[in-house]
């Protein structure tokens, strides 16, 4: 005799139908990753290009023109000559005509011939401080590349040469693909599971569901399985796009990444479950899940800002942000080719975090309607 479908499978199947029937969750699952990839991949580009640079050439000699040509040849700058009096510089910035102004002094060529140090003045609009630092660095590089120029003071007895490993070209795809993976997985897992359970509370279907032999573990597993699968698929999709479209290298083991990604998804789902046990409406669950995932993952995980530059209280909070550990894992496996022994600490932290969250969720999951 055939056995009936297990209760876990029945709930999981039902949940799949809900997802298929609900355009909202479909959008979140399939459109969100695409939109985010486009946003991060093309719009939020941290590599600086085509900075409007106004050059005031007070020297007007072949030597100063040679310097200008070096700037014109660089993809970082879009050079325009500026002939107005120096006092007008401020209006240039205010009207956003230029983000930096380079002033070549009148005695530029004479001083170069004499071999003395020439002072070039660079004025930068620092309303975007990160960009200002980059502009300053690029300028320095270009000026240093001008042959026979000795702009720098006599060389120090030693020289610092930095070599950047794992992302030598400082490509932002290397930075946002792992970050996006961490962000989307936690959002889909936590947001959708918490909403899926509170929806049953809100519409009253949980009341009917509870008066059946189904156990809390069966409800939770049945609810969670579809989202584990979907989140995993999303993750694979993001990785494929990252590797093949944005050319992010993949040096480590895909199996190890898959295994640890599953661990991360489970942690995020546990968070969603815990949220669902403390909220009673979908609206509140959605808000709670979003505040617990979106901003912490963006800012408290090391995704955008280095954790060490945060105030100590935020650093402390970052210990309970799952993405903090997952980012170490993804970056480690993809860019550095880390193996499990090297990633055991973040993996253990994720395990501990999910265990704690699951225990809280399990304890709080009620099989009655008692308040």
């Amino acid at each position: 005799m055939r056995r009936p479908r297990s209760r876990i499978a029945a709930i999981a199947l039902k949940e799949f139908w809900h997802i298929l029937h609900d355009p909202r969750s479909l959008t979140i699952i399939f459109l969100l990753p695409v939109i985010q990839l486009i946003m991060f991949g093309y719009a939020l580009n941290l590599e600086i290009q085509k900075v409007e640079l106004a050059i005031i050439d007070l020297d007007r000699t072949p030597a100063s023109r040679e310097l200008i040509q070096h700037f014109e040849g660089s993809p970082f700058f879009e050079v325009m000559a500026f002939r107005a009096p120096i006092s007008q510089i401020e209006t240039l910035f205010l009207r956003r005509k230029a983000r930096a102004v380079l002033i070549i002094p009148a005695d530029y060529s004479r001083q170069r011939q004499q071999g003395t140090t020439v002072d070039l003045q660079l004025i930068i609009d620092a309303s975007d401080p990160n960009a200002a630092i980059n502009i300053s660095n690029y300028c320095q590089q270009i000026v240093e590349a001008v042959p026979t120029t000795r702009l720098a003071p006599p060389p120090a007895p030693f020289e610092v040469k930095s070599t950047i490993w794992f992302n030598p070209d400082m490509k932002s795809a290397y930075f946002f693909v792992p970050g996006l993976l961490a962000l989307l997985l936690v959002m889909i897992s936590a947001l959708l599971t918490s909403v899926a359970i509170t929806r049953e509370k809100e519409t009253g279907t949980l009341e009917q569901l509870l008066v059946s032999p189904v156990t809390p573990v069966e409800i939770i597993l049945g609810k969670v399985i579809p989202y584990v699968l979907l989140a995993f698929l999303d993750g694979v999709g993001i990785l494929l796009i990252g590797v093949f479209v944005f050319q992010v290298p993949f040096t480590g083991s895909a199996v190890l990444l898959a295994f640890l990604t599953l661990l991360y998804i489970i942690t995020a789902l546990s968070l969603g479950l815990m949220i669902s046990t403390v909220t009673s409406t979908q609206q509140v669950a959605m808000m709670a899940a979003q505040s617990a995932t979106l901003l912490p993952t963006l800012f408290l995980s090391g995704f955008i800002f280095p954790l060490r530059s945060l105030p100590w209280i935020l650093q402390l909070i970052s210990y309970i942000v799952p993405a903090r550990y997952y980012l170490v894992i993804v970056r480690g496996i993809m860019l550095k080719g880390n193996t499990l022994p090297q990633l055991i600490t973040p993996a253990l932290f994720l395990m501990g975090l999910s265990t704690v969250l699951l225990i809280i969720a399990g304890k709080r999951f009620k099989t009655t309607l008692e308040a």
Partner: protein, 313 residues
């Protein structure tokens, strides 16, 4: 057709059940025995405590005091075993609106682990009662109110429960569907399932084998509808008039009148002493020919309940 009588063991046993929500006493010492094979009607106005009582029976709420057993299983300690043999239809429609009729039925069949070998037969049987088969591929949200209730009932019956508990299944359903629904409940009872059903409609009392009137957290009377009717101590008349409301006021001011209630297009007037024909002639005059017709009647369950509720107020 009658209740199985007090010599059989009760299938539901409630003793001194109490439940409070904060400062509100929802159930104030309920004692009730329900016997196998009967349809028991729990009748009472909104806020009487019907839903609280039903939720405690369904293991959804915990009693503060007292003992509640279903088939000798305690609602506090044997939750899982009770949830196996119980069918429950909550007051609020609680099936999945985006799933089809058949998907909902199959989902609950899976939850209760109805073996595939008998499942099709069971679903056919339920389609036979509910006549929902032509709509089996329709999403539940597209069903009419009456059809939704029949589907909810079918889902609650999918595992052939020993006890079926329904919380106001006919509230907000059109009269024709209500009648059909009660017909199905009788068929379910014939199939051997004990039915406990709550309703705010007192006229539905006659559909039950026994009824209990709930009022302010107490069961103020439990009996067969017939014996409930016999409890009415006053001579009762049904009176039709030109302006029913004006006429009600007229009777309320008479000294020999015990109570006046509006019943549809007429009044039910209970007297403390039987009126004689000359009384009616006199009232015709003093009410300015307001009275069209009058007729002595037997009290309905509703008359008794209204009377008892007033006595308890």
């Amino acid at each position: 057709m009658m209740a199985s009588g007090e010599n059989t063991l009760p299938i539901i046993e409630i003793q001194q059940l109490k439940k409070r929500f904060g400062t509100i006493t929802a159930l104030d010492g309920i004692d009730l025995h329900i016997y196998p094979g009967e349809i028991f009607g729990l009748i009472g106005p909104d806020g009487a405590g019907k839903t609280t009582l039903i939720r405690i029976l369904c293991t959804l709420l915990l009693p503060d005091a007292g003992r509640v057993q279903l088939l000798q299983h305690d609602v506090v300690h044997d939750v899982q075993s009770i949830r196996r043999f119980l069918g429950y239809m909550p007051q609020r429609f609680s099936l999945y609106p985006d799933l089809t009729v058949e998907q909902n039925l199959n989902f609950f069949a899976d939850l209760f682990q109805v073996p595939p070998s008998i499942r099709q037969q069971r679903i056919q049987q339920l389609y036979h009662f509910s006549r929902l088969e032509p709509f089996k591929n329709r999403p539940t949200r597209a069903l009419s109110g009456g059809m939704k209730q029949k589907l909810a009932l079918s889902c609650a019956m999918i595992h052939t429960p020993k006890i079926l508990i329904l919380d106001e299944p006919t509230t907000g359903v059109d009269p024709l569907s209500r009648q059909e629904f009660w017909h199905i409940l009788h068929q379910i009872r014939e199939g051997g399932t004990t039915v406990l059903v709550s309703t705010p409609y007192m006229e539905e009392a006659d559909q039950c084998d026994r009824v209990g009137l709930m009022y302010r957290g107490k069961l103020i009377v439990v009996d067969t509808p017939q014996r409930v009717r016999q409890r009415f101590p006053y001579p009762l008349y049904r009176v039709w008039g030109q302006d029913t409301y004006a006429l009600r006021e007229f009777f309320q001011n008479l000294e020999t009148v015990h109570s006046v209630h509006l019943f549809g297009d007429a009044l039910h007037v209970a007297f403390t002493q039987p009126p004689v024909p000359s009384d009616w002639k006199h009232w015709q005059l003093t009410s300015h020919q307001q009275i069209i017709r009058w007729q002595p009647i037997e009290a309905s369950v509703e008359d008794v309940f209204l009377e008892m509720m007033e006595a308890h107020s």
